[in-house]
């Protein structure tokens, strides 16, 4: 442990404050994760990742930088990590999911802003997140007003590059996005001083496709009844995918998927047969935000799918691997990433089609619409989603919340009442 303290200190971290942050995690993790009955054995790896969340992977980043490599942090599933890695840099996800970082975020941002944004900025300002501290460049994007403007504030404390995402999905918007992806490649080459070759980019495209397909495989196992792995566990796996070494992550997740498939073959599951099956849709859940899943699953229901950025939006659709030139590859990347149905697009009918399809595929009994407070995009889009679900007789509950525990009791009551209705 002494070594890690030196490492954190070298990263310019506030050690005392960091102790406060990490001191609370083991107990929370014990309650939320380790007490789950009948967990797959392959979850051991992910338990280890959490236990060593600020040490093992950080040591890898430090070593990479010691050898002259760069590290880039991103906050959104629209950032094409294939390009970051093809330029020789490591990509890590930086979205903040802890209430711990909110007060520091609120020093520079309005209080009535989405907790994910406040926590992300607060993580940087507090000096308690070694991932932030390890980044040579932060990659922002223009998906929502809060993030778009928060990057300007964050830029006072760390270098930020912003990708401009289109707001519509017309043919001309794909052209603009293709150009933006090209500008991003230029930026990565400038940062790392390395040329991105078609060979390297092809490797990374294949690797990220494999990573996404691995999650697809794991998620497919959740379609079984009884479900072989809890929603909480799969959420954790998805959260870890954003910052783990991709090859190791694939190996460990394939093992988990194989174990889940063996359970299905044996008719084994983690919830009692007939337990309500819930599809969660809405805003992302950054680690360690397990709040809603914990409430749902301790109330006896299973979360079987997440139509969120920490769910299907992250791994559905693969990049066409046929491209041989950089131009073809960038086009393929642009096309794949623009298929993500985020509420930042207007209109966004694809998301409703996705939700209806996923409800069917995952045999969900009901939908919980998860809205981080003050996220206007998803909050306004609820109108259309609710309409589509109600027209088809699919029960839906809207939950708007932040990272605090203040409303946990009230949320639990509402979720339990909703589940009661489904039985």
């Amino acid at each position: 442990m002494t070594d890690y303290r030196q490492m954190w200190s070298d990263l310019g971290m506030d050690l005392e404050k960091h102790d406060q942050l990490t001191g609370a995690l083991p107990l929370v993790y014990e309650t939320v994760y380790l007490k789950q009955p009948n967990r797959p054995r392959a979850m051991e790896y992910f338990d280890l990742v959490v236990a060593e969340i600020h040490s093992l992977r950080i040591a890898e980043l430090v070593e990479h930088r010691r050898r002259g490599g760069k590290v880039c942090g991103a906050f959104c599933v629209f950032v094409p990590v294939e390009i970051i890695r093809a330029a020789g840099a490591i990509a890590v996800g930086l979205c903040g999911g802890s209430q711990f970082w909110i007060p520091d975020g609120e020093k520079v941002l309005p209080r009535n802003l989405c907790p994910l944004i406040k926590a992300s900025v607060g993580a940087r300002l507090s000096g308690t997140c070694p991932y932030f501290q390890s980044c040579d460049l932060l990659i922002g994007e223009t998906t929502c007003d809060g993030k778009k403007k928060a990057w300007e504030v964050l830029n006072n404390f760390a270098p930020v590059y912003v990708m401009d995402l289109p707001q519509m999905k017309r043919p001309r918007d794909l052209v603009a996005w293709r150009e933006e992806v090209g500008l991003f490649l230029d930026k990565m080459e400038e940062l790392t001083g390395r040329r991105v070759t078609p060979e390297r980019l092809a490797e990374e495209i294949q690797l990220q496709n494999r990573l996404r397909r691995t999650l697809e495989r794991l998620y497919a196992a959740r379609k079984a009844d009884p479900v072989p792995v809890s929603g909480k566990d799969v959420l954790l796996v998805t959260q870890v995918s954003f910052y783990d070494d991709p090859r190791r992550f694939i190996e460990k997740t394939e093992a988990l998927a194989a174990e889940a498939e063996a359970r299905i073959a044996a008719g084994e599951g983690v919830f009692s047969p007939g337990a309500p099956r819930i599809l969660v849709t809405g805003t992302p859940m950054a680690i360690p935000n397990w709040k809603l899943h914990h409430i749902i699953e301790t109330a006896g229901a299973a979360v079987v799918c997440e139509e969120t950025c920490t769910g299907t939006r992250f791994f559905e659709h693969q990049v066409d691997e046929a491209g041989r030139t950089l131009d073809e590859q960038l086009q393929a990347l642009a096309e794949r990433y623009l298929k993500i149905n985020c509420s930042c697009f207007t209109p966004n009918p694809g998301r409703i089609e996705d939700i209806l399809r996923l409800v069917k595929e995952y045999r969900a009994d009901g939908v919980i619409y998860y809205n981080l407070q003050f996220c206007h995009g998803y909050a306004v889009e609820y109108y259309a989603v609710e309409k589509a679900l109600k027209e088809r007789g699919i029960p839906v509950l809207k939950v708007e919340t932040d990272y605090s525990e203040e409303d946990t009791g009230q949320l639990r009551t509402r979720v339990e009442a909703f589940l009661e209705m489904l039985r």
Copy 2:
């Protein structure tokens, strides 16, 4: 009056509810406007406009449509009204400024959304706004998350066309915006069935330039000390500019500006000499939102300038009139409109430059940053604006509010304390 009731009924309005809306206005207007001492005589016209707000101008719209003309409603200063008018349609501003419309807006939109958006959508749903009822097409834009997504909801109740505004101001964004302006021209031609000729567009460019210059002239008079016209009065004039007949508006506003200039020559003003001079910056104030100005000016200070969309952002910068072809004219329009420094752009340093320049030009003693609740763009941008002002020793007060009267007492106390500090 009977005729107007028939007209409103023909427009599909809810007459009973409309009576509730208009019933309260005379008393409010009496208190906020008519009791001001020493008002310019030329304000009589604007008093009449308010008194007949749902009748005189509406009768003109009805007559225009009877003769086969179209009416378009817009919600943003980025919509190039020159093109609407060159296609033979009438353009009206539709932003809602009344608390009356909030409950109807909240039937389809989240409660924690900007009141301007909720009131605008609520005005349509309530069937109490004859401007909305007179529109053949609503023109939305992608300036903020709330509006961008609210158009999707509104589109369930009325036809909406959305202009996609860039989120940055790089050369390539100007190119994209120029194309968007071209698409808008196509849409207007399709709606009206009339070709936009360079001659007609030139006329409308000149007319709108004249209208903006007229406001520029009126605002210039406010640079004098004592100020010859109140902030409340100028705010009303600007609000009226969005839906009045442009030629009549120019004539009446020129008369007001001339009267204000005569007062300056005579050393006359509407506030006592040495009264604190306030620059208001931030979010727009749609009619009849006079809340903050009323608080400031009844506390003895003068609002001398608004760096808002119902202020300088609306009228600064003119369209280059040299263009002879449609292509040149559309380019000139795109360039002019993209000069507006809205917080929807990232980064947006031009707005800070504007504020610092306007503080100097209008000899402001302090700045009040006006933020409609839940408007993330302006709320987050406060960080940079506050920093720039404080570095220069310019006092600033941030006010975040909605349309309700609930916080009026508290706001008054805060504003008075701020003004006390300036004396």
